[in-house]
């Protein structure tokens, strides 16, 4: 059996894999979000609130994921009018707004944080969720919707001219990603047992972005590899103890120079 320490490391790696996949989906339609932590926060807070009321964990998680998905629809709507770097900073703003909201929202603890959450996250359930999400994302590539997303990523004007409804596809991509982030948030809250608004800050959104871009934004396994590396590396770098973030940061710079397109190549280039 695994020791408690590694069980917890694997759980967090799994949660981060889910976060990576949650960003991979909108990114494969050309929508880069720097606010995934906001969706994660919604899933975390709502599910924790519900399980404290006695709602079963799976149901609470579904509610959190659904709420995140609905908010994803709202955030995704302006993305129809703006593009590229603007979406990145718009979603960054969204993430900050969610953070400030939970910082001041007293029913879930406000600035004191929300404590006393039950330990309901089991690491094999996290891994199962990762597997399901990965298969869903993988299969999505071969669906009508997935192909439309890839077409929009390549050239949205051309895609629209071919009869693809940009609004439906972009909103779907955004809220599908948000649902996955909501699931990740629910697991996270019931693993750490204490959440506060600062845990869902810009740094978390930026790290989520790292998973995808480091691992490879054109391959569903990219965010998985990126998330696992980014989670496990600082742990194993404990040999260098106090300077592990420096080493980790240096490795990121080297990886970006060595493999600017991500560690894993686009799927089709392996054929």
């Amino acid at each position: 059996m695994l020791s408690g320490y590694w069980e917890s490391v694997i759980t967090f790696a799994g949660i981060n894999v889910l976060m990576g996949l949650s960003l991979y989906v909108p990114m494969s339609a050309g929508l880069i979000s720097l606010g995934q932590a906001g969706f994660m926060a919604i899933g975390a807070y709502l599910s924790a609130y519900l399980t404290k009321l006695g709602v079963p964990f799976p149901l609470a998680m579904a509610a959190g994921a659904l709420a995140a998905g609905i908010v994803g629809l709202i955030v995704g709507a302006p993305a129809l009018r703006i593009r590229g770097i603007y979406i990145m900073i718009l979603t960054l703003g969204f993430g900050e707004i969610v953070r400030v909201f939970f910082l001041n929202f007293t029913p879930t603890g406000g600035a004191l944080g929300y404590s006393g959450i039950q330990p309901l996250t089991e690491f094999y359930w996290v891994l199962t969720a990762c597997a399901i999400a990965l298969v869903a994302v993988w299969r999505l590539r071969h669906s009508r919707m997935g192909r439309a997303m890839i077409a929009i990523h390549e050239d949205d004007l051309a895609a629209e001219a071919m009869g693809i409804n940009l609004m439906t596809v972009k909103l779907f991509a955004f809220s599908f990603g948000a649902v996955i982030a909501g699931v990740a948030g629910a697991f996270y809250a019931h693993q750490t047992l204490y959440i506060d608004a600062q845990q869902f800050d810009f740094a978390r959104s930026a790290t989520t972005f790292l998973y995808v871009v480091l691992g490879g934004p054109a391959n569903p396994l990219g965010p998985v590899l990126g998330a696992v590396l980014v989670t496990i590396l600082p742990e194993t770098l404990r040999v260098v103890q106090d300077w592990r973030m420096t080493f980790f940061g240096g490795l990121l710079v080297i990886a970006a120079i060595w493999r600017p397109d991500g560690l894993l190549k686009p799927l089709h280039s392996y054929r």
Partner: protein, 292 residues
């Protein structure tokens, strides 16, 4: 009362503007979101602190210290973390990854050197308060606004009237054409990083003087607000960043004074989203395509 708040807002906004101009300069030439710029700003503040403690040279000396150290750091980042990726023709997202990495390194080194706590920034002025009609201004506030606006004016003169400034504007228009026309693009990019980071360093020292305390984590908050300011002003537009900074400063101060102070940061981003919806290219678009 309102007039007083406006003055306070202008002062806060002038530091935002300095940081956002840095983003705009770098985004202008490289279309790059520089996620370590907040850390450069923070290092500038610490450099100003060290200079004013060790050399006791007064506020101007601290500013020059912050400016020089931040500018050197910015140029070093360009040489180590960005230029190699450009030369390998990488994905436009890759430099963002390396800027995150560089930011982590800088933040940890500074935490190790100065500790993770707030450090008090020595008082540079006598705290004289002047009464100008209905408004009160302290000497610190006058100094901060004076320096910020002088710096912005100097930058305006530089980009408008000098050869290098013209080269920078040309490169931000179209870096490939500029290169064909015989502009040494590498020099221009390096220079842009130097100027952008130097402005960030000045802003760091000014913020240190304003709040009389600094910490290795002060850059994060400034970084996200700097993005918001650049967007409000228009991507890559220097003058947009100036105007956006002042607008944001005023909005923030007013929302603290008349609305709920704890929601201040949310108002700032709500304003940004609202402006984006009404004017998807920002208030003063530089005509730069946002990319895809």
């Amino acid at each position: 009362m309102l007039l007083q708040q406006l003055v306070n807002g202008l002062m806060l906004g002038s530091t935002y503007a300095l940081v956002a101009i840095g983003y705009a300069l770098i985004f202008g030439v490289l279309r790059l979101l520089h996620l370590a710029h907040g850390e450069v700003f923070m290092v500038g503040a610490f450099a100003g602190l060290m200079v004013s403690i060790w050399l006791s040279v007064g506020p101007l000396g601290a500013l020059i210290g912050g400016l020089v150290v931040a500018a050197l750091l910015g140029m070093l980042l360009e040489l180590i973390a960005f230029r190699p990726i450009r030369h390998r023709g990488g994905n436009y997202l890759a430099p963002i990854v390396s800027s995150v990495g560089a930011g982590l390194v800088i933040q940890e080194i500074m935490t190790k050197l100065f500790g993770a706590e707030q450090i008090s920034f020595p008082k540079q002025f006598e705290s004289v308060v002047y009464q100008l009609g209905p408004i009160q201004v302290s000497d610190t506030q006058l100094f901060i606004m004076g320096i910020a606006f002088t710096t912005m004016f100097a930058l305006h003169v530089f980009v408008t009237y000098t050869r290098l400034g013209t080269a920078m504007r040309a490169a931000s228009e179209n870096i490939e054409v500029a290169s064909i026309l015989g502009i040494n693009v590498n020099t221009v990019v390096l220079l842009s990083f130097g100027i952008a980071s130097g402005l960030g360093g000045i802003a760091g020292v000014l913020v240190g003087m304003n709040f009389s305390s600094i910490s290795p984590f002060m850059g994060t908050d400034m970084a996200t607000k700097g993005f918001a300011v650049m967007l409000i002003g228009g991507l890559g537009s220097i003058y947009g960043a100036m105007a956006g900074g002042l607008i944001l400063g005023i909005v923030e101060v007013l929302s603290v004074a008349y609305l709920a102070s704890s929601y201040r940061d949310a108002f700032v981003f709500l304003l940004m989203i609202l402006i984006l919806l009404l004017r998807p290219r920002g208030l003063f678009s530089a005509g730069i395509e946002p990319g895809r």
